[in-house]
Symmetry: D2
């Protein structure tokens, strides 16, 4: 095969940055050669700059890389952004202007009208915003984003059902602690407890879902005309966000129609066999008590979303459960899949 594409990470020392480092190990297309972080870390070896919080030890392939400042300069063509929201706007724009493809996990540009908010199985065509973004902003590079971690689970769960006309959605999440970074949630707050609140999360789920499930028409994304209400909770689970979902449809599908829709669902990543695409993006489990985060989250390298318990809802039409890996499919794995989509589209 041809030479690998060099990639870098903005905000490489933080928790999300570490997830990128781990997910990019042995990637068939990408070679992680550049790590950017704050001034405080720049100039240090990665092993010294980053206290490794994930399992095992700092991967040997990056342990001795010297961390750089988050400035375009000699950065590679694709940079994954795991920067903090407080600085992401400026840094990401600087890289895009300098010609880099910025594949961002930060929330800052997600709702910009000219920035694709991608779930490649769901809305790969939103990449048609790319030339509009470049033209409008005068950039050689571009910014694409992936959704908030809980939004990915919801939208992957809903996408197979979109043809039936989604009108109203009530969703409650049971979210893992890894979603809050490090140190994140204090153990005194969550051991044997539930926190019925995650700042800003409900708003993000409600807004992002409408954009992701919207259609690209006339040079812009038209939001899905559906109402979404989210209740977000933190639970003492390490990895994996669970969502209980009630949905009202404009059509009146049979339960078997919906099951068939889950089972036959696939998208561009599957068609093109992108390296980080799960063969089956939404795995419907038939056991009555599944999916479960601790037992299912690591399957398919964390890149699939699991659904189950589809049944009639006394209030709306149907209800079901969805679960996915918040730091993989909901963050680093989502962004890497976005980058693969960009490459397959010839946008890098």
């Amino acid at each position: 095969m041809q030479r690998k594409i060099q990639v870098g990470i903005l905000g490489a020392t933080g928790m999300v940055g570490q997830h990128f480092v781990r997910f990019l190990q042995n990637h068939p297309w990408f070679d992680l050669t550049w790590l950017g972080a704050s001034d405080r870390s720049a100039g240090k070896k990665y092993r010294d700059a980053a206290q490794w919080h994930l399992g095992g030890e700092t991967p040997a392939s990056v342990a001795d890389l010297v961390v750089e400042e988050c400035k375009p300069g000699n950065a590679p063509p694709i940079v994954f952004s795991a920067t903090d929201a407080s600085v992401a706007t400026e840094i990401e724009q600087a890289f895009a202007k300098a010609g880099h493809a910025v594949v961002s996990n930060s929330r800052n540009h997600r709702m910009d009208v000219d920035v694709p908010l991608l779930v490649p199985e769901v809305n790969a065509d939103h990449l048609r915003l790319a030339p509009i973004q470049r033209g409008g902003r005068g950039w050689k590079g571009l910014i694409v984003t992936n959704p908030n971690c809980s939004t990915v689970v919801l939208t992957m769960g809903l996408a197979p059902l979109k043809p039936f006309g989604i009108r109203r959605v009530v969703v409650t999440t049971l979210q893992a602690i890894s979603g809050a970074g490090y140190p994140g949630v204090a153990s005194m707050d969550i051991v044997a407890n539930v926190i019925p609140y995650i700042g800003g999360e409900e708003e993000k789920m409600q807004q992002e879902t409408q954009k992701i499930l919207g259609d690209f028409e006339d040079g812009r994304v038209r939001n899905l005309d559906a109402r979404v209400s989210a209740h977000c909770n933190r639970v003492p689970v390490v990895d994996g966000h669970t969502a209980t979902i009630s949905v009202e449809f404009s059509s009146k599908p049979a339960e078997s129609d919906l099951l068939e829709a889950f089972r036959s669902f696939a998208g561009v990543p599957q068609q093109r066999k992108l390296p980080s695409a799960p063969p089956v993006p939404v795995i419907y489990m038939t056991q009555p008590n599944r999916p479960q985060p601790r037992k299912d989250v690591e399957r398919e390298r964390g890149q699939a979303v699991f659904a189950g318990r589809l049944r009639a809802c006394p209030v709306f039409d149907y209800k079901f459960v969805a679960m996915g890996h918040n730091t993989v499919r909901g963050a680093a794995g989502a962004a890497v899949l976005n980058a693969e989509l960009l490459v397959s589209e010839g946008l890098v």
Copy 2:
């Protein structure tokens, strides 16, 4: 004061029975003098018949009581039923027929048209079924029931809002492991995990809520004309069921109306100052991340329900969080409050 009323427990050795034993310690009206259990336990001292699963050790006041068979015989006038559903129907009816007030936590008779399904703050007037039950069945005693543990949290949370016309409710629960008895949920299934399924629980919540919030009219309880959809989950919390609730009203109340309704809510137990009545039955917490089971569940002896996070719902009118102690307010404490209500009504 006058002499205490002697009370007993049917199914005293199981987990719910133990909660009754603990809650009845030092009760100002009731004296626990009789413990019934299966043949296997009958004839043994309680300390030997029951492996004590709650905190501390078997209370000294009952440790040496000899367990009896679950037959009316010399049982006291009030018996609390913690019997297993597989035998509760027959046992409870035998005691009611023999003249005992059976205050049951079992599900068997909850939905019988002539059996009150009581939450004393909410529907004390459903006790008007008592003479109908006695007349119809030819019993000297009677059976009253309390709801399923998760239903109590939901109905206590909804009751203050009933005047605004509840039409549709979508509720998701995050339920504690103590709700499943002993040994109950295997640790391998729930440590750092979520189980998105509790057998039969959703149906119970949906049906019981309509009966509890219904009105007594023309000699019967007319179910509340509202649709309820429940998603029930088990989470690794010891005590305390949390519920996220979205509600549609037939009127269009302001948020301040609902807050005022929570704050001013009280019922018969508060008016009569029943010994196990919480002074404020629904405590509305204003902190954005409360109530939380581990931090709030033991307040008010576990007899209050806590609400919080009232806010507009993009799908329905409002959404909020409720939380209550599943083995106290949702089981033993609920039944003891029912028994106090019976006494205060002169029904014992």
Copy 3:
């Protein structure tokens, strides 16, 4: 009864300070009227200065107290010190010099030769250091300290056995997360995990134990002539430190001798019926799988230590388990008991 003694808290807004606030509610001798904290908090009402981390809400009795700076000035005669180690030395000395009895939970002065390191059931006679401290330092007030939380569990467990001649002790702790304050241990580090390290803890246990179990002779405390080795671990338990202990004795006691020693153990707090003294300071449990933190820690208001599983040790003479409440008996409750001892000795 006579008027209560006014008391204050140094470092009232932190986690340990909050434990003092809670433990002092409704104290029969002491009236909490003064709260000291850092400049940042001074001048604010306590409810605003301290984010309440314990169960329920900020106690009403202190919610509106205005927090003061940690300067003697108008502080009451007894001050409990929950100040951070980085500032405790200076603050505590200033208060002692100004005539206050400083009852400290901080580690700074514990090992000073003229400062009593008290476990009142074990070494109340170490208070004979008080006049020596006052004379030597020229203070009108004084400083007394309580041990590190894990040391309390170990020394209370060993104290009944001291008459048999303790020579060598190997102890492993399984410590609760509440011992690390707030935010303390990150949930990502401890949910479903063990951390086999607590900075400085092993050294503290090893040194403090020798001083506490030492004898006051010739105007000073002679350390116990025993070797102690500690292995300290953090486990996902909320409250309650468990310790497994192997002990070598200079005599060869029978197991029944040791059991009798546990059961008959009592000290000055029990003799004088100090208000915070547990009636039985070391409760020996006979069940094979007890004590357990979640099930036993709240008994006796958290002021007793629990022992169990005494059996022969193939390496040393005997081994057993001890468990106690780290934030009560190991911190706030320990200090309040120390203050009661001071009062009963006429030292305040």
Copy 4:
């Protein structure tokens, strides 16, 4: 390469049996073609006979295998025994007599004088008991065993230090819930709790360690002349037993000697590059707070043991921490490595 060796599992439907099924997936030497279980399961497909408790779903390669009775008949040459102790003696002997190599995880034959209790890195030479066993019992097959899960962690941790003359060992374990099988430990007993007791575990650790670390001399295994004392605790961890270990040596090694011993340790499995042998059997971690079960247990497929925190012990010579995967290196993975050793020795 040559054809794979067919293998089977006795007790295939239980929790340990499922671990064998999982560990044997894609094994380069062994082909799992036979599953034995109780009469109740015999005749059913494995997917129906066994409720799959591990992550994901029943592996496709065995899901449709029909479970057989545990009788030699057509069973393959190697059978892994995961049978319950109540029946293991009879079943295992029947298979050994019929010519099968029985590689057992059950405790029944571990302490038999003619049965090897193997940790291949430590005592591969104990296989010299094989001809003695066959001769003495008149068997064509044989039985070899692996230790109890906690013993594996201890003996792998001690083995590198054996040359320095181990005399006394005090060990405390913090054991994962998966060690208790399914349903195993009730969640009400272990969520946010510690159980300071595991029935029979301490005796097993004490006895088995002496045999494993003993030398084969004069046709038998002479136990290590060392005293071992174990304190066994259950903690809310999913996989991975942690042990804190204090050791007295007959020589006086320097700390650097011990570190070097850990780092250079290897055994027969490494020399022969057996497929399930970890490249480095004991991985010494230098971070002060490692190893940790949740973060390290899955490394090296769960087949390595991790050590750390080596330091002087005030009571004995040194103390340290060891941790290993109880259901892999402590059970299924241990037995598969034993089988590989048998094959490499020509004993199958």
